[in-house]
């Protein structure tokens, strides 16, 4: 069906981004060559090669950890909190000043629409640094003991879905608490982390406080397993999270894990349906569904399921998929060929297991990695598409009759990261919110994030919280802990 609206192309210029043909590792305040095998990072929307990236091997990791240790011992852990704060404030300001550049680069490397990188990712990154900057000289008031101390060197491994935002979630609280970091961005999205390096240099951050090492899983493993790190922070898949939990067993390394999810988004019959539909769309199609807290299981009360589905399909049909740099784009590219393969495979399993697939009719670009917004109806709890994280724009729709049944279905998962509830009845919201076994519950909204608000999972979605006062705990040693 032709759209009643025609949009002229409105591409954001990429001229603002100064891409280098190749990037090294950032260790001890300078770019150095890596000793692994360099790899290319591409634009998932066009498969165009953007740059060549160094791979850190064991020796490079060792150098980075040592640099972080030196900076910790000699500079950062000794610096008064109020001075650390000023560096973080500087970084926050520079992020704001260079926000357009960061947003364009993020959309180029990740494939997410510019309206999301520009309006969500980058502003939230700046806000995160501002928030934790202010904690640096107030830690004794944070409720984590009278004289909380930093842990030391933090090894941080982050995913490709929100590359710069996850960097901020990791680096800002770590630095505020007086730790130094070695961070590994995902191999498909290293560019904004490498631009962040320039921002650290612009802020005159002392060498070694932030080190960025690039590479894939093996590099991450070497970093997490390095005996010189005191703290491991990981965001990514539950499978890798479990491997990390095993690998740190018997050590004194502290660990926080922010892993997968299969969130239920529960719509009751008295919900404002149009608002709920917006929330459902935001819940599963935001960032192409590459969101650990995505509302990937829609639970609709049986009496309104037809109405909800009709309006949902109509709304999905207005989503614009295409060039991530176009300001009118709602849905960008799938981040990698590998991820696209996984989304396709699980969707095919959905077909094979008897669920009914409906997808938005749209022309997919011939180059790049694309998957149309899709929903499955007739899904049962036993179906793999109702149990496994797809991490793509694929929604599984299930139904329920009573709040008790909704709760039972919502909690019937090894995950517990997030959940959504849509109803006009306040007491029902509070009942659901208190009974859902999930770390974040969005009621009559979805996928909202704020630096002051703790985020993290129950059960196999990981442990520890990021954001807020609670987020400091992951980077501080409390007096009782040191006594043990």
């Amino acid at each position: 069906m032709p759209s009643p609206f025609e949009y002229a192309p409105a591409p954001e210029s990429r001229a603002i981004v100064d891409l280098k043909p190749s990037y090294g590792l950032f260790i001890d305040g300078q770019f150095v060559e890596g000793h692994g095998t360099p790899f290319k990072t591409i634009s998932p929307a066009t498969e165009e090669v953007l740059s060549e990236i160094a791979e850190a091997d064991q020796a490079d990791i060792d150098a980075a950890v040592k640099a972080a240790r030196r900076a910790y011992d000699r500079v950062w852990s000794r610096m008064p909190g109020r001075e650390r704060a000023k560096y973080l404030y500087r970084i926050a300001r520079i992020i704001q000043e260079r926000s357009r550049e960061l947003a364009v680069l993020e959309s180029l490397d990740n494939g997410k629409p510019i309206k999301e990188s520009r309006d969500v990712d980058v502003p939230t990154v700046a806000a995160h640094f501002f928030y934790y900057a202010g904690w640096a000289d107030k830690l004794e008031y944070a409720g984590h003991g009278a004289d909380p101390q930093p842990l030391g060197v933090a090894a941080q491994v982050i995913p490709w879905n929100f590359p710069l935002l996850m960097l901020a979630w990791k680096i800002a609280p770590a630095l505020a608490c007086g730790n130094t970091v070695v961070l590994k961005p995902a191999e498909t999205t290293p560019l904004t982390a490498l631009l962040f390096v320039e921002i650290c240099q612009q802020a005159d951050l002392p060498p070694g406080v932030v080190n960025i090492v690039t590479g894939a899983g093996a590099t991450g493993q070497a970093l997490v397993g390095h005996p010189g790190v005191d703290k491991v922070a990981f965001t990514g898949s539950t499978e890798v999270g479990k491997a990390i939990a095993r690998s740190v067993a018997g050590t004194s390394k502290r660990v926080t894990l922010e892993l997968g999810g299969k969130a239920a988004n529960i719509v009751f019959d008295d919900a404002p349906i149009d608002q709920a539909v917006e929330g459902i769309v935001d819940g599963i199609f935001f960032n192409q569904g590459h969101v650990c807290c995505a509302g990937s299981r829609l639970l609709v009360q049986e009496s309104v399921v037809e109405d909800v589905l009709e309006r949902l399909k109509a709304r999905m049909s207005t989503l614009r998929m295409g060039d991530p740099l176009d300001k009118n784009t709602d849905i960008g590219a799938i981040n990698s060929g590998e991820q696209l393969k996984r989304i396709r495979e699980l969707s095919e399993v959905g077909d094979a297991e008897g669920a009914e697939r409906w997808e938005v009719a749209c022309d997919l670009p011939t180059k790049g990695f694309w998957f149309p917004p899709t929903l499955f109806t007739g899904v049962s709890q036993a179906h793999r598409i109702a149990r496994e994280e797809i991490f793509g724009p694929v929604l599984s729709v299930l139904t329920f009759r009573t709040p008790a049944e909704a709760l039972e279905k919502a909690n019937n998962t090894p995950y517990g990261l997030s959940a959504g509830v849509w109803t006009d009845k306040g007491s029902l919201i509070l009942k659901m919110a208190s009974s859902l076994r999930a770390g974040v519950v969005w009621a009559n909204t979805f996928n909202k994030f704020d630096p002051t608000s703790p985020f993290g999972g129950y059960k196999e979605s990981g442990y520890g919280r990021e954001g807020g006062r609670h987020g400091l705990e992951a980077y501080l040693r409390t007096p009782h802990e040191s006594a043990r």
Binding site: G250, L259, G439, D450, T452, S453
Partner: protein, 289 residues
Amino acid sequence: MSRIDVRKTYKLYIGGAFPRSESSYTYEVLDSKGKFVANAALASRKDARDAVVAARKAFGGWSGRTAYNRSQILYRVAEVMEDRRPQFVQAVSQSEGLTASKAGAVVDQAIDRLVWYAGWADKLAQVVGNANPVAGPFFNLSTPEPTGVVAVLAPQDSSLLGLVSVVAPVIVSGNTVVVVSSYERPLPAVTFAEVLATSDVPGGVVNVLTGSAATVGPWLASHMDVNAIDLTGVAGDTELATELEVAAAENLKRVRRAPAAEPDWALDPGLDPMTAFLETKTVWHPIGV
């Protein structure tokens, strides 16, 4: 002729009942001088699994009670312990080889600790939870919730004060517990179970297994319906502690690691023993008309 004493075989405490071990195994409990005291049930894998089922069954009810009610129940436990103080003093003295007066002091500390934790039930959320001033029109609140079913390997040396110090902080917030007592000093734990059974603690909230942490621990650490594990009871045994931590990773249990040596239980425990088994839940709601 002197009277022949009645020797007792102590049992497990699972789901509010006192069963023998499913395996029917028992072991001899000796006092600190090596003299026979009694037999205790030797918990098996099956007992551990039964205890987890009981703990899971009790979780909804216990975590759903008001904090005030949990507080009252924990205080009630302290009351009943105070009532049976002489029996605890004897058990601790026998188990730990302390003089009656030193054992008395330990029992007093255990009872006082329970009173301390009882008071936390309805304060914890105010101390570790908070409202979040998000940059938008949203109500945003973070509150602590219990993690779920927690396996606790109780300390080997401190048979009562240590036991209370690892069990009370877990249940006060609404978790339910499967605790493995000290292997060589299980009798204070058995007496404690008898107190629990007669002081309004619902069956299944605390399940007490007497036996070996090395034998039962791996089953609890790898159990997929256990949400967290406290390894205090294997303090100093790095190899076993590591093995248990590896097993616990299978469903990402929250792990309270084993200390290098058993801590000094007389110290102020702080919040860590409670917060280790809490999840923070954050709820968002738009503000508007």
